[in-house]
Symmetry: C3
Subunit: 673 residues, 3 copies
């Protein structure tokens, strides 16, 4: 558990660098990420490098014992490079180049830019790969930010054709797999296939899905080229990339497979305003963020660099690379966190297993696009509230580390939530209802689990599932044979399994399975989906759980008509008496988009059956366990009392931090052993 910060020496006079470094040290900061946007300073003219300033900056940090996360600067190619090869720019869906003047203005598929990416990565790695201060690397910055995964360039089109040829072998196979006979869309050669854009009405769904898979593979290939250079020239330093929140444009499990550490950029307030939350939630959580936004991503990215081997550690290395320190500049509304939230978020991240929490940024820049983005300090070098709280966390870590080995805390969670990018893409391509947002569904199910006090691993569909007592798959439109096998084994071993709506509803090529949904999961689920319907706003279906007269919820947005082929109904739709939730052995299938209460009831049952002792928490309280530690976070405006039930009486009266009566936005940390 260490602190870090993002620092831009090129934005400030060198005269202040040493003071900055001293103050970082004093604040308890160990890591400093630098240089991810500094290409124009590193190489001001083609082939002319200016290392002096960066040498000095690194030495200054090193002199204070700070460890550097060095970056490749490929997210911001300079103007002279764009002018040299204008077709390196990504092309938007309307055929327009996405120009210079901000960032991420490159096409992942452009061979020329790929060569430049390798050249500049090699140059930086050669310079600093063996530097004693450089203890880790970051490739590029926030792949895909500003909708930059997809490019409709000539390079991308050519790459896509090669990708299709490699995948399908011959064009007849593609025609059969996609079903191009529908609407006479048959191709006679791969060279006839364009990007799925600009069509009169929606393009073919399999075409769209493969285009997204191809684009995701391009991101992975781009990243891997840098990783290989860094591993060659800077051995033993871990390589990371900083992922984003609520972002699914490429398969992060794939990209992370080439990394040592997954990091992410945590902006709870910005995400609360910019995503799918209701207007009421946006107002209610304006200054604290939705309580589950940080945890959802912590748990997701903790699963990224995990091995998928059953005999390997279940969790990967991960950091928060950018932690929101105050108001940001990019949300629809940029609210200010309540005092205490930066500390709370920092501890919450550690309690989910973060190795490092790194704040973005050391000091608010007074110029350019992000001048309204706060930092730990204001532009005039004064300490901002985020800095005050970061220092507090630094001091708390220091104090605690004298009592225990904070890095020795392991995680053994019993609940797995499967997160499958491919299935998310399928549902995004074919929502069938305007508000069927699969990422929201994934989040709402996670939130329900967390409201029950459960710790959750968010895992790849290829993850080893043995050992989990409860496995939830809210958005599993396609289940591979391997996943079916893993679930079958888990069920046989007694694990409880919950399949969300549309599970198994699609084949690998986004078609309907021959045996209808849930396709390959049919035998496990014991149901067949006869019909699906999306429900417009204002339409909902009442659901009653069996054996509990008062247990009522609703389905909104989506419902299915099931035939029971082995399963039994556990909840019924009130209007037609059809099954809303079924059960076959330890597997439940959910035939609708449940409301929050419905998910809580359902998961309460499943978790109880799994022997997990779920306990509904007070509203806006969350708890997280790491090793012998338990952290409670109060996101509410009220004082809340909480005592861990598993706390031995000897220690229950004495949290390590805070108190069992949690102030608004307060935390309490217990040692459970």
């Amino acid at each position: 558990m260490q602190l870090g910060v993002c620092y831009y020496p090129e934005h400030w006079p060198p005269s202040g660098w040493a003071d900055d470094a001293q103050r970082m040290r004093a604040m308890g900061i160990s890591w400093v990420r630098i240089a991810e946007f500094a290409w124009s300073r590193i190489e001001p003219s083609p082939g002319v490098f200016d290392w002096a300033w960066l040498d000095e900056a690194i030495e200054t940090l090193h002199a204070q014992g700070l460890k550097v996360v060095m970056c490749t600067p490929t997210a911001t190619p300079p103007k002279w490079l764009v002018d040299t090869m204008p077709d390196m720019l990504a092309i938007d869906a309307h055929g327009q180049p996405r120009g210079f003047g901000s960032r991420r203005h490159y096409c992942f598929s452009h061979a020329g830019y790929r060569a430049e990416s390798r050249r500049i990565s090699r140059a930086v790695a050669e310079r600093y790969g063996q530097h004693p201060a450089v203890a880790a690397w970051q490739t590029d910055n926030e792949y895909g930010c500003h909708d930059t995964v997809l490019s409709y360039s000539a390079a991308a089109k050519a790459g896509f054709r090669r990708w299709l040829q490699a995948r399908y072998g011959d064009i007849a196979a593609l025609n059969t797999a996609w079903g191009t006979v529908f609407w006479s869309m048959e191709y006679r050669s791969f060279d006839q296939i364009d990007a799925p854009v600009g069509t009169v009405t929606e393009a073919h769904p399999a075409h769209r899905l493969d285009w997204r898979r191809f684009a995701s593979d391009e991101v992975r290939a781009f990243n891997r080229e840098q990783v290989e250079i860094l591993r060659e020239l800077s051995p033993a330093r871990p390589v990371s990339h900083n992922f984003m929140g609520f972002f699914t444009e490429f398969d992060h499990h794939d990209v992370a497979a080439d990394l040592d550490i997954a990091t992410w950029d945590s902006y709870p307030l910005g995400f609360t305003q910019n995503f799918f939350l209701s207007a009421d939630e946006k107002a209610r959580y304006a200054r604290v963020g939705h309580p589950d936004i940080p945890g959802f991503h912590h748990d997701l990215y903790r699963g990224m660099c995990a091995s998928t081997r059953a005999d390997a550690p279940a969790h990967g290395r991960w950091w928060v690379m950018e932690q929101q320190p105050g108001p940001v500049n990019w949300a629809s509304w940029n609210t200010a966190p309540h005092d205490g939230m930066v500390r709370l978020w920092s501890w919450q991240a550690f309690a989910h297993g973060a190795e490092v929490v790194s704040y973005f940024r050391w000091r608010q820049a007074p110029f350019a696009q992000e001048q309204m983005h706060t930092g730990l300090h204001r532009p005039d070098r004064s300490v901002d509230q985020g800095g005050v709280e970061a220092a507090q966390v630094g001091a708390e870590l220091q104090a605690l580390s004298t009592q225990m080995d904070l890095n020795a805390q392991g995680i053994v969670n019993r609940v797995a939530l499967v997160f499958d990018y491919d299935s998310l893409w399928m549902a995004q391509i074919q929502p069938q209802g305007a508000d069927y947002n699969p990422l929201e569904l994934q989040f709402r199910v996670y939130s329900a689990l967390r409201q029950l006090g459960l710790d959750v691993d968010i895992v790849s569909p290829n993850a080893a599932l043995a050992g989990y007592a409860l496995i939830v798959l809210p958005v599993q439109l396609h289940a591979s044979a391997a996943l079916v096998k893993a679930l079958t084994q888990a069920a046989a071993a007694g694990a409880q399994i919950v399949l969300g709506p549309r599970a198994g509803a699609k084949t690998e090529v986004l078609a309907i399975p021959e045996n209808l949904a849930p396709g390959a999961l049919s035998a496990l689920a014991g149901v067949q989906v006869l019909r699906v319907a999306s429900l417009p706003p204002g339409v909902q279906a009442v659901i009653r759980f069996e054996g509990d007269a008062g247990s009522v919820a609703t389905a909104q947005r989506w419902r299915e008509d099931l035939a029971l082929t082995g399963a039994q109904a556990e909840a019924l739709f009130d209007d037609d008496g059809r099954a809303a939730v079924t059960r076959l052995g330890s597997l439940r299938y959910v035939a609708g988009w449940l409301d929050a209460d419905g998910w809580r009831q359902l998961l309460m049952r499943a978790a109880t059956d799994a022997g997990l002792s779920p306990q509904p928490l007070p509203a806006d309280l969350r708890v997280s366990r790491i090793g012998g530690l338990l952290l409670a976070c109060n996101f509410s405006d009220r004082t809340l009392a909480y005592t861990p039930t598993s706390t031995p009486s000897s220690s229950s009266a004495a949290p390590l931090l805070g108190s069992a009566t949690l102030a608004p936005r307060g935390i309490a940390l217990w040692h459970l052993n």
Copy 2:
């Protein structure tokens, strides 16, 4: 009264075709539409035809006695054709081609594609024109779907210039007619005139109107070329085209004038979600559809192939070519019909005079864009609910046909609703208020008539009007001399006439008449419009009908200030005492966009004056009469009692189908003679 189905043999293994055909027969199906999207299978390479599979499919259907509706496949030109002549693609308003990869990717004005359209139509017609199974034709598919009427191509621009030259003769005449002097828009030659797109602010309204007229004429010319080939090579087989719902982008009366049968594609639930209904209506009718959506289009398309001669039949031949069988895939929300609705819709269509109700589609396709569109069967060949209900209708038809000649039922309606595409375009070009949707107005007035239990003919402004007791013109912005004459004669003969707001407000070139609105209708109406105003949301004007203290309604969206030049006020605006509804002889003029209650009150008066005995029906009940039959449809969730007042006592106790106590979504069919 026969059933049909849309079938795609090319989507399924030939081994299953015979079974399909047998099951069609067993279900009571007589007609099978095929091949409208099969170009790439018919002609897989340029000039290389593969007829074998289609021969076999037709023979298989023929062997079961099924009649085939053969189609020209021009809605989906194959990729090799597009690659040969890329400029055949339509061009969108931003100058971008509308590319290959879905359907309808052609420009109606492109001479090269027009030649291809004739070539492939001739090829298909030569092959199957004389085949004994081929009993009818369909040209292309859903002209205009996905906004494909308008194309801003070079071909369209050139065609438009020729069209203008033919219409106006010399450029001075055009300048005068349009009024180009306003803003110095005068042209010196037809070659200076571009498409009315890309202008700094709105383009000239007359320019826009003529562009739409030209585009409509292009659709007609395209269609006529195919019709002529089919008539030459397949004589005595009727030629049809399948029109759409709530679609006004070309003049359907014009196109239908070249056809033998008008058909349309009836998707009540999709239309309910995607069009102008309120959020409350979308929720209320989510699973039954608005009760008047089917009837509105049935009555509209029944008027399409009607003769305009007074001595000819008042109704044209028409079918439902595609009947919704379950949830579709293309609406904002794709709801499931309640059980019984497919049967109800089928009977409703017959009760409006449909010759054939043809379901779309025989079996849900498991792949491509429409894989979430249900059929009579599921992709696994099992019968879906739509199939169950279609079979029920088939059996009911069979049983009834033993009691009477179902095809001998004539229609003699006394109410005409005039539907004028040209006037709709005028109001769309010049709404003058953001929610002045003339198609909605047309629909709302139709709905009010139907809620009064009246059967309605929706007719062209060129239709023979003699014989109608009540003639309603909700959106008659321009009245031709012929229409004025017909109305004058009808009024003289005692018909009641109702003119909606803005009647006669525009000349042929979308200008204000010299004598102001209602222009050519002024003498008939006895009013002059001094001023019009659109009303923003939240503003409404109370209206009181004369002689009935309790009779209050409101105008919303639109009101007019009238001078009475012969007419008398029948209703007054409460705030200023001006006339809201006037009457001169048997003609009423309505000076506002009335609410639903206002239209019902007004039309109750007019229908009563016309001697029609209107009877307000229970909410969501509708009745339709065809010959001696009367069908009642219960679209509500409640049981409703209904007895036709015109039923002789001898038969009133015994409906042919159903009972006088209609279950929710139930029907009852009486024989009135």
Copy 3:
């Protein structure tokens, strides 16, 4: 105080011109604006002029003693000119030309069109510059209408580079000023700089700001070229331009500096529907317009041609060039004014100092884009309600002018509201919250002042501020050294000053000041802004004013955390006790976007401190003073009683017009001396 009208002889047969002129005279009209859209009639073919019709039109008007405002016709270049130089068209943000077919289809930066502008202006001025009827000029028409200030043409890009070079001298200075080091956006030469458009995410704010400044300068340069020609060829005639409402795309103070008279086009109902008012306000004011829309613009444009010298008159010459006469055609909803509103608006304009109120237009055109825009007459030559009321105003002016010299009425206002286009642009570029609309804030503060019965001068930030008792700066993101000096002097002289949120928050290049906000105003304000936050809908912060327990309001949309560095709190945020309003000496700083009640309370305090005796008016009543006259306008539906407190008893019982009991939409005019 005179009346005028906009007239288009080219739209009507010459046979009617003389009658029109006679009726103008009879209606009390003195001024007639003509020919601003007549280029295609003046020069029907390149270089071929047809003056005859215009000569005749002018003579006809002259014969009736009418004075002509002659226009340059550059807003509507004819088609032949566009065909000659197609690149004269402006280019939109997507790179598409903005084509011929409406108006304003030119790029301000195009050298070829600039030459044409001078050529046609010279031709018209040579013809009519010395004509005795031509008593004033108007350049072009409504610069910027339909978003035409910005053009992304090659000409504009080249001009921008020159402009930047002139402003910054060398590229290093630009890089430093803008802060291009952020995201490696550094330039090596001015030739590398493009328009700030098409970037992947938002373009650099300083880049965007300079682009807007450049575009504004182009408008000024374009206008000045015409002005110079007119001054040369038509000496002693004042030159004007007609500005628009709620329009900030160029710096009007700059353009007006080259004019003699500022005019504007007043459409209160259209502006009410199309701008930022709430849905409730749009409904409530549908037929009268928001009471402060006319006054806000009257006071703004009165300040346009004012000198900025302290020893010069504080007010400039101004007219209403286009006064709404009835419903218009271009708003989302085009409502009809209540009877009496045209008279009310006319008198309101005079009471704010208008020299001339000129109605748009004499007669409604029956054709083209504006055929639904009413005039004083209907298309059939009958008098419309607007004409009736204009005649009434004409008669009232005539009667009053026998009692006093209406033109001798001076204005001496004590309240200044600073309106700074540069600051508005800054807030528009960097709103930091989706609803931070600086123009709305400016308007809401003005409205609060007017509800307190105060007369307001809206002034340039360069205006002489001495003499004002109260100076309000709602949107002063950047304060120049000159403004800081002027405010310092005014404060020293005892003036009350109110700074709105974000005052001084930006430097000249849209960066954060070194000493943080309020930057150069820090010493005056005695506060430092530590943090800002935008507030999403549903979030508001309660504010309590000190010393008045019942005085509560809220901040919405925006709040700031202040450190007090000399100031004292006058109001506190309820939740955290921080200062919401501060005071240092006579200067108040407002740390939030106050609700209407908050602004009224705050300004009541400041105005009282300024010795201005503010008096809250009944809702929807407004009063305006000009010289010895006081006008009260009742915008409500209720009868309202009002008596000027400053009216001597001798005259209080006898208004010159109307009565102290104002009917709905009524006015009363008192003589106060």
